[in-house]
């Protein structure tokens, strides 16, 4: 734990005159589970979009494992080892569940330029895809068209695609949004299992406070585009400014 895996310095983004994210600095350490919380419109998604290359920052810098990745396009950032999920389910509905994962694996293994072999006969790819699907409890659904899955299974498939890129830093954008309590418990358990494997670092935004306080080693609070507070779940729970800005609107955690 001598070097942060992700180091953000003075990151800002403004749209026109609106400062969506303003001067945010943050270090994430290897194998940490950090939760990023804040009311709607606090700038969490904009922040994620800058980390993952969807948006170019107006100012500031992002470095990953010591390498400056500020303003790199999404595919370069993904190849370096950062993978993200999306708040709105973002899968390939017309492809089969297995193919959804195989798309990411094809990219990972640099097989994308193979043009003269049948993709579905690639044993190694198929087995690796099925292994990932099994990890998420989707193995029996592998041959279904992804579009017909239930909402919760689609969210799980989204995570399967993220894991298939073999990231070291995983950005989850509200992974339990819209899920039933049972599905939420399943995802929470899954994240804990993945974290226990000691290969991933997690940055998670989440509205469900029980999930946040259950999972996070550390909580970062954003409010109106800026960092409001940072600390252990216990510290955040007792932080007065946070309670006023945010937790006051929610039920007791």
């Amino acid at each position: 734990m001598n070097e942060p895996i992700l180091s953000v310095r003075g990151l800002s983004k403004s749209f026109g005159g609106v400062h969506a994210v303003q001067n945010v600095s943050l270090d994430v350490w290897p194998r940490e589970k950090v939760a990023l919380i804040g009311p709607n419109g606090a700038g969490k998604t904009t922040f994620y979009n800058m980390l993952s290359g969807r948006l170019r920052p107006s100012d500031g810098s992002v470095s990953f494992e010591g390498q400056d990745i500020t303003g790199l396009p999404p595919h370069r950032i993904s190849r370096l080892g950062i993978s993200r999920s999306f708040q709105i389910t973002n899968i390939f509905s017309e492809l089969s569940v297995r193919q959804n994962v195989e798309v990411a694996l094809t990219a990972l293994h640099g097989k994308g330029l193979q043009m003269f072999r049948i993709a579905s006969r690639d044993r190694a790819l198929r087995e690796e895809a099925e292994q990932i699907l099994a990890q998420l409890g989707l193995a029996e659904l592998a041959d279904l068209r992804a579009g017909v899955l239930s909402y919760g299974d689609k969210r799980l498939l989204e995570i399967a695609i993220v894991l298939a890129t073999r990231p070291r830093l995983v950005l989850l954008d509200e992974p339990t949004a819209g899920m039933t309590p049972e599905e939420t418990r399943q995802v929470t358990r899954l994240i804990r299992e993945l974290a226990a494997s000691n290969t991933y670092t997690f940055l998670i935004t989440e509205h469900d406070m029980s999930v946040v306080f259950d999972l996070a080693d550390r909580i970062v609070v954003m409010h109106r585009g800026q960092l409001l507070a940072e600390g252990s779940p216990e510290e955040i729970r007792n932080n007065k400014a946070v309670r006023e800005a945010y937790l006051g609107e929610e039920e007791e955690p």
Binding site: S78, G112, Q114, I118
Partner: protein, 314 residues
């Protein structure tokens, strides 16, 4: 089992088509040749449209340059047809690399408009460069000699030319089919559905779109290179934007979601055109009505609708 049946049907179809000259009227040899060539042209277009999700309105540029390359090489150098066709493909590939380099940067309607613009520019160059292309008269008066590769084919015989076209189109289509089923093809389909998600999987989407565009241009060049000797001329009609509309219409008619859709669409298109124009001049009116019905009621195309119906009955 299902695959075996499909393979058997396709094999029987190939045999029936190969021996077509022995039982069909002479006239239909020409119709069948045109169907095969337009089918390959439309299938190459569908690699961009159906598989990569980009609507190109400039695909005739590659068909046309393939045709002109073939006509000029046959006229000035009397090369064997095999080498002529390879150079037609190369011409289509190079032009697609140049045009694609600019076009794949844009999305949706802007991509469509830019391909249309490049198609028109290509037409203007072909039409105006009289010293090379003979302007609106086109390049004609070339003779077909040998095929090359030591094959003794009487290419001047339309039946022989047709059979050669059939074999080449089948081989080219197998290559195209393999590409659509390959890992590369899987990524193209993923891109057509959700390009952003593919980018977040670590894929440079623009590069894959460009490759798809270049491959499509190469096969369109082959179709054009076979079409000019068949038509005995390479003229600006081959490059005109209305020619770019043909593969679009054929693909929608047949069904963009199926590999064989464009071939099926080309067959229906050419046959209807042939039959309707013997009764009336108003072929375009009929085509318009048919297309309107297809787009409103049968979005998956004729082949797609038939296959859906068969699968539902099972």
């Amino acid at each position: 089992m299902r695959n075996a049946i499909i393979a058997l049907i396709l094999l029987a179809l190939f045999a029936a088509l190969f021996w077509l000259p022995s039982y069909a009227p002479y006239f239909y040899i020409f119709v069948a040749t045109e169907i095969l060539l337009m089918g390959l042209f439309a299938a190459s277009f569908n690699l961009i449209f159906g598989y990569t999700g980009m609507l190109s309105f400039g695909h005739a540029a590659f068909f046309g340059i393939g045709g002109y390359t073939a006509a000029l090489l046959l006229l000035h150098f009397q090369l064997p047809l095999f080498w002529v066709l390879l150079l037609s493909m190369l011409a289509g590939m190079l032009l697609a690399a140049v045009i694609g380099f600019f076009c794949v940067r844009l999305d949706e309607v802007y991509f469509a408009m830019l391909t249309l613009a490049f198609g028109m520019m290509t037409y203007a160059v072909v039409h105006q460069w009289r010293s090379l292309t003979n302007g609106s008269d086109g390049v004609a008066g070339f003779a077909l000699r040998e095929f090359g590769l030591g094959l003794d084919l009487q290419l001047a015989d339309p039946a022989v030319y047709y059979q050669m076209v059939l074999v080449i189109v089948v081989l080219a289509s197998l290559a195209l089919y393999l590409i659509t089923r390959s890992p590369f093809g899987l990524l193209l389909r993923a891109i057509s559905e959700n390009a952003e998600r593919v980018a977040f999987c670590g894929i440079n989407v623009r590069r894959y779109r460009l490759l798809s565009f270049i491959i499509a241009g190469t096969f369109a060049g082959l179709a054009g290179g076979l079409f000019a000797p068949f038509n005995r001329v390479a003229n600006p009609d081959m490059v005109h934007w209305t020619e770019s509309a043909q593969p679009v219409l054929m693909t929608i008619l047949g069904g963009a979601g199926y590999f064989l859709g464009p071939y099926f669409g080309a067959a229906v298109f050419v046959l209807l055109e042939t039959w309707i124009t013997t009764y009336t001049e108003q072929w375009m009116l009929f085509l318009g009505v048919i297309l309107a019905i297809m787009v409103i009621f049968f979005r998956r195309g004729i082949l797609g609708t038939i296959l859906d119906w068969l699968l539902r009955r099972q």
